[in-house]
């Protein structure tokens, strides 16, 4: 018996020792780091090479970014490698937890607050020489607790995509392009026939938010401190969409058996859709035979409104060579470089100085850029992503749901994460 006990004690002891060893090993492996983030004035500087982690949409984007970074390396003499993430949020989280994050990375608006809040990010926005060239609304998107964190790398807006063939076949002309909600309902009704729905879009806030903006509503006030999700404006927007769905003029892409609005549109299950700049690539690759035009979304009761989506170049607080990283960001967000990116894989430059050239290069897509003037961004409060996921889950049931009730729940959830 005693023998067993000794062994048991020995065994436990050994496990504990290994455990402790492992823990201390881990402890020393992590870089506990300083406070980081907050202070914008001091940048680290060294001879270290840079690592850039991107979430790429495909080879075109990967090649374009790799080439641009290589060109900068040549110029600056600092090595830099581009890695393509297969799961960006996960890889970033791992990097931050281990204290060895990439120096620069794509950062989504909804991830900003979480990473900024725990000090993982360097707030370098105010140090950028081209700071004033970015659209103010994009700067707002990447401002957390009054600090401009990172340079918007590009952006997209939502607009109305119209199937030219179906439009003409229904006897509609350019003059019929809807300017108001009533117009939109009318043309959607005209286009709804022969198994084609007038307008289809994804069942999510990231599309319906455009209607909310047109009605003058949003989820969180502009300064990000107040939840305004259940405002009468938002109720009006959802009610309008609900009515049109009940009438059969609008439909969710999922109800038509498509994965997203672009697919419903490309397969000609719907004559119109609400999508962003990325629709261009999808149409060229998957549905080259469908002829389409991009028009501005109609104005709602409160005027024009749409949603904008953007990413920024996040910089790690733990990066040993932030000076070089800043230089690279300035290079990558310069007007010329952004125009080159736009040509390679489609997004719109975040620099206002590139706008004229971009419009000249892409006359058919001008409506997207016009949206920059009145677009609303996705809120960036910490924890808002879960709220939006929940909102989306409820929007799927909008057809049979009660807009006021849905928005009241969203209001409650938003209040919990705002302020």
């Amino acid at each position: 018996m005693t023998r067993h006990k000794t062994r048991a004690i020995l065994g436990t002891g050994a496990l504990l020792v290994t455990g402790a060893l492992a823990l201390t090993a881990c402890g020393s492996g992590f870089d506990d780091g300083g406070a980081g983030g907050g202070d914008a004035s001091e940048l680290t500087s060294s001879e270290d090479a840079l690592t850039i982690l991107i979430g790429s949409s495909g080879d075109a984007e990967t090649d374009a970014v790799t080439e641009a970074v290589a060109a900068w390396s040549e110029e600056s003499g600092i090595d830099a490698t581009v890695q393509v993430a297969n799961d960006l949020p996960q890889q970033l989280s791992q990097g931050f937890a281990a204290g060895s994050p990439p120096d620069l990375f794509y950062l989504a608006t909804e991830a900003l607050a979480g990473y900024a809040g725990n000090g993982s990010l360097k707030a370098y926005g105010d140090l950028l020489s081209n700071k004033d060239d970015f659209y103010p609304s994009l700067v707002q998107n990447f401002t957390f607790e009054d600090e401009f964190y990172c340079a918007p790398k590009d952006f997209s807006t939502l607009q109305l995509i119209i199937n030219q063939g179906l439009w003409d076949a229904a006897g509609l002309t350019d003059a019929d392009i809807p300017a108001t909600w009533d117009d939109l309902a009318t043309v959607a009704a005209t286009l709804t026939k022969d198994g084609v729905t007038g307008l289809a879009f994804g069942p999510e806030y990231q599309r319906l938010g455009a209607f909310m903006a047109q009605a003058g509503g949003q989820l969180v006030s502009d300064d990000g401190t107040e939840a305004v999700a259940n405002s009468p404006e938002n109720v009006e927007a959802l009610t309008y969409v609900q009515e049109q769905m009940a009438a059969g003029n609008f439909a969710y892409s999922s109800d038509l058996g498509a994965g997203w609005g672009g697919e419903a549109f490309g397969k000609q299950l719907s004559a119109m859709t609400i999508e962003g700049n990325w629709i261009q690539g999808a149409m060229t690759n998957d549905f080259p035979d469908v002829d389409y035009v991009v028009a501005e979304l109609p104005a709602g009761p409160a005027g024009q409104g749409t949603m904008q989506f953007t990413n920024c170049w996040g910089m790690a607080a733990d990066s040993p060579n932030q000076q070089a990283a800043l230089d690279l960001v300035e290079y990558l967000t310069s007007a010329e470089q952004q125009l080159a990116f736009s040509e390679a894989f489609g997004p719109m430059p975040s620099a206002q100085s590139a706008a004229e050239q971009w419009t000249a290069d892409n006359p058919d897509l001008a409506a997207f850029l016009a949206g920059a003037d009145y677009a609303k961004g996705v809120p960036t409060n910490d924890g808002i992503a879960a709220v939006i996921t929940d909102f989306n889950a409820q929007l799927e049931g909008l057809k049979a749901g009660d807009p006021q009730q849905i928005l009241d729940t969203v209001q409650e959830n938003t209040e919990a994460v705002v302020g």
Binding site: A14, L15, T18, L21, A97, N118, G119
Partner: protein
């Protein structure tokens, strides 16, 4: 037995005689495994446990000085907080409970049935059947999920086949309606009694708890049964082949028909395997993640959200590492409780007196005296 008196004590490495140092050698040989398990299994588990009690934000080491102990806060926010985290956790438990409730019995029954089929000596081409049934288990769950998304799309093969018999199939992976609610709606019941709708548990009304798996989740349930029953079939085949024929023969001599032989003779002998299959099934079902991650990410309407996926998304996407870890440990507790319950339910019991009496020759009353 006199020799044992002379035998040297075998304790530690200090013993004398030819067996000295054996204990040390034992430790040396097991050390690599202890180290590997310690570093890669025990330490991470302990760290995760610590994270679930701390306010670690995901940056730097969770053991650093500026990470504070917050007690049960993380657990409270997902169980009693009443906000969105609580409701999400409630929804995920609801979804997964239905998944377990349907998948575990179905996959066990199906795998046993398949094993009985391919175990029969008279069946030609047994090997082919066994391979065919086992094949789905070999394929990666990601590949199967993608296949499933195609098969069960609105215009997919499944709906096409259903249309041949006049059924207008649902848009499987986009349909958030619970199948129990759907069935009730067919009888005109669309809202529950106030007792169910007005009281809630984990932020979800009882009426919603009883909604059943959504149509989307049902597709996942069918997939789980399809992919796992092959593996469990193998376990049952192995067990069946270990059964001796004489018990069967004895039962036949006693005049038991095939059904009685299966129910009263074969099945009780399979109890250890049944326990293994049910336990593995329970664990696998409570941990369902791959399919959700690749397939629906919790949609539509959060009806395929599972605790495992919620744990991942609140940690990696929401940066709420403490909550993510807390969900993982609650999940662990659930699995342990279910396994213990099952062990208790499947324990060896003495034959009940009523049952035993059936086998005893009827005794004349005089003999009792």
């Amino acid at each position: 037995m006199t020799t044992t008196v002379a035998a040297p004590p075998r304790e530690g490495g200090s013993g004398r005689g030819i067996r000295r140092g054996e204990a040390l050698a034992g430790w040396v040989f097991t050390l690599p495994v202890i180290l590997i398990l310690g570093i890669f299994l025990l330490a991470p588990v302990l760290m995760a446990l610590w994270v679930s009690f701390s306010d670690w934000s995901g940056r730097g080491s969770p053991l650093s000085a500026n990470v504070r102990f917050v007690g049960l806060d993380n657990y409270a926010s997902i169980t009693t907080g009443g906000g969105l985290p609580t409701r999400d956790f409630g929804i995920s438990l609801r979804n997964n409970a239905w998944y377990v409730l349907l998948v575990v019995p179905l996959q066990t029954a199906l795998s046993l049935f398949l094993a009985m089929l391919v175990n029969r000596a008279i069946l030609r081409g047994r090997g082919i059947f066994r391979t065919a049934f086992y094949f789905p288990s070999v394929t990666s769950s990601v590949a199967i999920t993608v296949l499933w998304l195609f098969l069960f799309s609105a215009t997919g093969v499944v709906n096409e086949v259903l249309s041949w018999i006049g059924i207008n199939g649902p848009n499987w992976f986009q349909d958030p309606n619970g199948i129990v609610h759907n069935a009730l709606a067919a009888f005109g019941v669309t809202t529950g009694p106030p007792a169910l709708t007005e009281n809630d548990f984990l932020g979800l009304s009882w009426w919603n708890w009883l909604a059943g798996p959504s149509v989307a989740m049902t597709a996942f349930i069918i997939m789980a049964v399809f992919t796992t029953s092959g593996t469990f079939m193998l376990l049952f085949i192995a067990a069946l082949q270990n059964l001796s024929g004489d018990v069967q023969e004895a039962a036949m001599v006693d005049g038991a028909n095939a059904w009685q032989r299966f129910w009263r003779v074969t099945l009780p002998q399979l109890r250890p395997t049944l326990f293994t299959v049910l336990t593995l099934g329970l664990i696998g079902c409570w941990q369902v993640f791959d399919q959700i991650y690749t397939g629906t990410q919790g949609g539509p309407g959060k009806t395929t959200l599972t605790p495992a996926y919620l744990s991942y998304s609140s940690a990696f996407l929401g940066q709420d590492w403490g909550q993510g870890a807390a969900i993982a440990f609650i999940l662990f507790a659930i699995i342990v409780v279910f396994t213990l319950f099952q062990r208790w339910a499947l324990r060896e019991r003495p034959v009940s007196r009523r049952r035993a009496r059936q086998y005893q020759p009827s005794q004349p009353k005089e003999a009792k005296r």
